[in-house]
């Protein structure tokens, strides 16, 4: 609080005094002669009467002195600022919204920052930064306090997690560009990561001013809606709830569909424990689901998660190549797959390009035939292989390749067995690196592999490559693994490509692919939960990029002013939900270790807050106010003529 506000606070006090002014009862008497003399007698005989006579004067004099001292603004500089340039970085991560004792951590940090700005010498310059995942310059180096105060007033906490190692790295780089600056960080220390700082930044020193106290919190740290494809298609909402309470706790978790309660669970958590909870949302129609914990802690941001679910859509499969009744039968038998065969001469069909552009392509099965240009869609290659894989793969033909092993943990091969499968002829692949994963091993190579292919405009698309013709094997004959393999493979490819993300975490870059975005001249915008609109950046592949999600809540995608899609952003960060000051603890431990090795590391923690160690004038102002009260009391209680 600035001095002027303190002085304004005196006005109500004086008004109060006026209303409290002593109302004496008026009594008419024959003569005040004797009373006057009595009062004089009382004054004359009272001890220290000389002092008492001028007591009001002394009180007023003392009060005036105190006010003068208060205006002079005495300081108690237990922590001195010596640098000419001062860098002040303020934590604006989500945990700064935690509230305790009526104030948020950010409010405390802002008070500390105000105190620091006040303390910096008039000729010194100060740079104001804000950090969460990244460091953001709020105000460049300046000696203009008004600018700094204005910049500080603009600052507000975000819904972002903290990436402290990246922050320290950036700060150290900024500091290197200046001449030995004083670097102060004000934050809640409720994040780890100091142990991950390495390189030059590890030797980087700064003063860390911790604000806020440890707050016990319970929150949803993970949540997602996933569709499980198997014998029965189900949609399930998975959530993980974490507690930092020191005792075992029990919470009610409610599931709401469009603000109506759909389900509720009791979740018991061990001290500082985590627990998962699963809701079956198969019966819910497409819409907004909210998961919330009935907790009244100081950090409501993580007590609620919003997600979007969609109606289950069958996975479309496009088969192109030679006749294959086995394959056709298998794909037709699945209710969750809608397959269609396309003649080689009419491939690719006209709509495929559009579907790829809209990020909604079907799974294409190339059965022993490849077009000249393979479209960037998820695909299964049977007896043929893509030539545009991201990994370097070599192929070699083999007769009677023997299956020796398979990846039982991969979703495509879950619960499958290949012991009795015999293949007359096939190609074994030997590949390495990112983009190549062997699913089924032959004796000297990979018979079935999962590969990635590049997608125009960035990213990759998945593919499963079978190095043999299934008609030249006994696989379709009496092997349960045959239909299950294709069911799994199509689910895996289709799920990866076609299932829309149900949730986004704050700090991520929101990418959307609306249908009509490819048209030229459309206006694509995003509207964040606060209602602020921002033009989207549309890349060459037709994707709209929103940028970093800084606010939790529902973001809307607008095309020509019309809402075409909605996205839910949530904190979902276990580290940010843990409101205990872990950073300094880790720092102290590191400091001990560093002390042994003699290497400087970690922050220098300010022992007291800047605020507490600096300003004394409020106390003088309060003392002056107290003296005014005493003076009022003495003036009105005294007996006078």
């Amino acid at each position: 609080m600035t001095p002027i506000w303190w002085l304004l606070a005196f006005i109500p006090a004086l008004v109060l005094l006026y209303f409290l002014k002593l109302k004496r009862e008026e009594v008419t008497i024959s003569s005040t002669l004797l009373w006057r003399r009595s009062i004089e007698d009382l004054h004359v005989n009272a001890p220290f009467q000389r002092l008492r006579r001028s007591l009001l004067f002394w009180i007023q004099l003392l009060g005036l002195c105190l006010l003068i001292v208060a205006i002079w603004r005495p300081r108690c500089d237990s922590v001195a600022i010596s640098g000419r340039d001062v860098i002040l970085a303020i934590d604006v991560s989500a945990s700064m919204k935690a509230r305790a004792n009526g104030a948020t951590r950010f409010e405390l940090a802002r008070d500390e920052a105000l105190a620091l700005i006040d303390r910096v010498g008039r000729s010194d310059r100060l740079m104001l930064l804000a950090y969460a995942q990244e460091v953001e310059t709020v105000q460049t180096l300046t000696a203009d306090r008004a600018l700094l105060l204005e910049a500080l007033s603009r600052l507000s906490p975000r819904d972002l997690p903290t990436d402290f190692p990246a922050v320290v790295e950036t700060l150290s780089q900024i500091a290197r560009g200046l001449d030995s600056p004083d670097l102060w960080i004000i934050g809640d220390a409720s994040h780890g990561g100091i142990e991950d700082i390495s390189g030059e930044a590890e030797r980087f020193q700064y003063r860390y001013v911790p604000v806020g106290e440890s707050v016990a919190n319970v929150g949803i740290v993970q949540a997602d809606v996933r569709r499980t494809y198997g014998h029965e298609v189900r949609s399930e909402l998975f959530a993980r709830i974490a507690s930092t309470f020191d005792e075992a706790t029990q919470w009610t978790v409610r599931l709401l569909w469009e603000d109506r309660i759909a389900d509720a669970r009791e979740v018991s958590l061990d001290p500082k424990g985590r627990e998962g909870v699963v809701f079956d949302v198969s019966s819910l129609k497409a819409g907004r689901v909210t998961l919330e914990i009935e907790a009244e802690d100081g950090f409501p941001l993580d007590d609620r998660v919003v997600l979007f679910i969609e109606d289950p859509q069958p996975i479309r499969v496009l088969i192109v190549g030679e006749e294959n009744p086995w394959l056709d039968d298998v794909l037709r038998s699945s209710t969750e797959v809608r397959s269609a065969r396309v003649a080689k001469e009419s491939f690719p069909p006209a709509e495929l390009e559009r579907e790829i552009l809209e990020a909604n392509p079907p799974v294409v099965v190339f059965d022993r035939w490849l077009p000249e240009t393979i479209p960037p869609a998820p695909a299964i290659f049977i007896g043929c292989r893509p030539n545009d894989g991201t990994a370097s793969v070599d192929y070699a033909e083999r007769d009677w390749p023997a299956i020796v092993d398979w990846d039982r943990l991969h979703p495509v091969l879950r619960d499958l067995a290949f012991e009795s499968v015999r293949i007359r002829r096939g190609e074994v692949a030997t590949g390495a690196g990112v983009g190549f994963h062997c699913l089924v091993d032959a004796a000297d190579g990979c018979l079935v592999s999962a590969q990635t292919r590049p997608r125009p405009g960035g990213g990759t698309v998945a593919a499963i490559v079978l190095g043999f013709d299934i008609l030249e094997s006994n696989w379709p004959l009496g092997h349960f693994s045959f239909p299950l393999f294709f069911d799994n493979a199509i689910s895996w490819l289709g799920q990866a490509e076609t299932q829309r993300r149900s949730r986004w975490a704050t700090g991520e870059t929101l990418v959307a692919s609306p249908r009509d975005i490819a048209r030229s001249g459309v206006v694509v915008e995003f509207r964040d939960p606060a209602g602020d609109k921002r033009s989207a950046v549309v890349d060459s592949s037709g994707r709209a990029l929103f940028g970093r999600l800084e606010r939790a809540g529902i973001h809307e995608l607008l095309v020509d002013g019309k809402v075409v899609d909605r996205f839910a952003a949530n904190l979902l960060d276990a580290s940010e939900s843990n409101l205990e000051p872990r950073l300094l603890k880790a720092s102290a431990e590191d400091g001990d270790a560093a002390g042994e090795s003699g290497a400087p590391a970690g922050p220098v923690v300010a022992e007291t807050s800047i605020r507490a160690s600096r300003d004394l004038w409020p106390w003088f102002a309060l003392a002056a106010l107290a003296l005014v009260l005493i003076e009022w009391y003495v003036y009105h209680r005294r007996t006078y003529i």
Partner: protein
């Protein structure tokens, strides 16, 4: 009509009383008492040598015959007595329960009545900031009714404070006669009592001065509490007090000092100080106390 100051029963009791002056008094008419001044009454007092010009009728012929010397027989002369009654009519007197002004007027009425019945010359004046005659000089029983009427219709003088000194000075200047002077007042004069009493002190050489100090019981023992703003009845001056035990003690000390000063000053000048709290029954004061003090017999 205001309430009678004296009822008939009390008046009847006053009939038997007479005022006594220890001073020798002189008057133009022979009163019903002997003066110390030797005169021509029938009661022999002494002899003195003859000097030319003496009335030869009082020459003692027996002594002349026996001693051949001229002596005159001297007789005690019976004179009328001047009774001056000064009543404080300042606003401060109209206060208290019973109020001081009524009490003062009753004292004046009673003493005046006794004086008139005993053929003394009675004069009644009221004063606040100045002296103003309201009755007499007169004597004789027939004047008693008028005296009582005058006193009953007398009211305090509003808007004027108490200034004792000019009133008493005027009394001292204009009187010039010996006898009895009765002053009834509360002595609440901001200018002080010392100066006020000085003219009376001069007068006390020839006159029996009785000072009745009238105070209400509320002035003797104030029953006040809390935070008060005391307003002076006469001049409206205010004193803000917070009643406390030390303040009440200080008041009591001041009151004792106030009364003691007046009493001491009166005694030193040969005046009679009579404390007259208004809660002391009036007949008790007049018939008991004043008889004991020798003003009445």
């Amino acid at each position: 009509m205001s309430e009678p100051l004296l009822d008939q029963d009390f008046i009847a009791r006053l009939e038997r009383l007479e005022l006594v002056s220890r001073k020798i008094v002189s008057g133009k008419l022979k009163g019903e008492r002997r003066s110390r001044r030797r005169g021509s009454s029938t009661e022999f007092a002494d002899f003195r040598p003859y000097v030319p010009g003496d009335d030869l009728r009082f020459l003692d012929w027996n002594i002349l015959g026996r001693l051949d010397r001229l002596f005159l027989r001297v007789f005690l002369e019976e004179e009328d007595l001047w009774l001056d009654i000064l009543v404080d009519a300042s606003e401060s007197m109209r206060w208290g329960d019973p109020d001081k002004f009524t009490y003062a007027r009753r004292v004046a009425a009673a003493l005046g009545y006794i004086g008139l019945v005993q053929q003394d010359r009675v004069r009644v004046s009221a004063f606040s900031s100045r002296l103003r005659p309201i009755f007499g000089p007169a004597r004789g029983r027939r004047q008693a009714k008028r005296l009582l009427e005058q006193l009953e219709s007398l009211d305090v003088e509003r808007g004027e404070g108490t200034h004792l000194a000019p009133s008493f000075e005027r009394f001292a200047r204009t009187g010039g006669r010996t006898g009895i002077a009765v002053v009834v007042t509360d002595f609440f004069d901001r200018e002080g009592v010392e100066n006020a009493l000085r003219p009376l002190v001069a007068r006390a050489a020839t006159t029996d001065v009785f000072v009745f100090h009238v105070l209400a019981p509320q002035e003797l023992h104030p029953e006040v509490a809390g935070d008060l703003r005391l307003v002076d009845l006469e001049d409206g001056e205010a004193a803000e007090i917070t009643v406390s035990r030390p303040l009440l003690d200080a008041y009591q000390r001041t009151l004792d000092r106030f009364r003691g000063t007046i009493q001491m000053r009166c005694r030193s000048a040969g005046m009679h100080y009579v404390s007259a709290p208004t809660n002391v029954p009036f007949d008790q004061l007049l018939l008991g106390y004043l008889r004991r003090r020798g003003l009445l017999r």
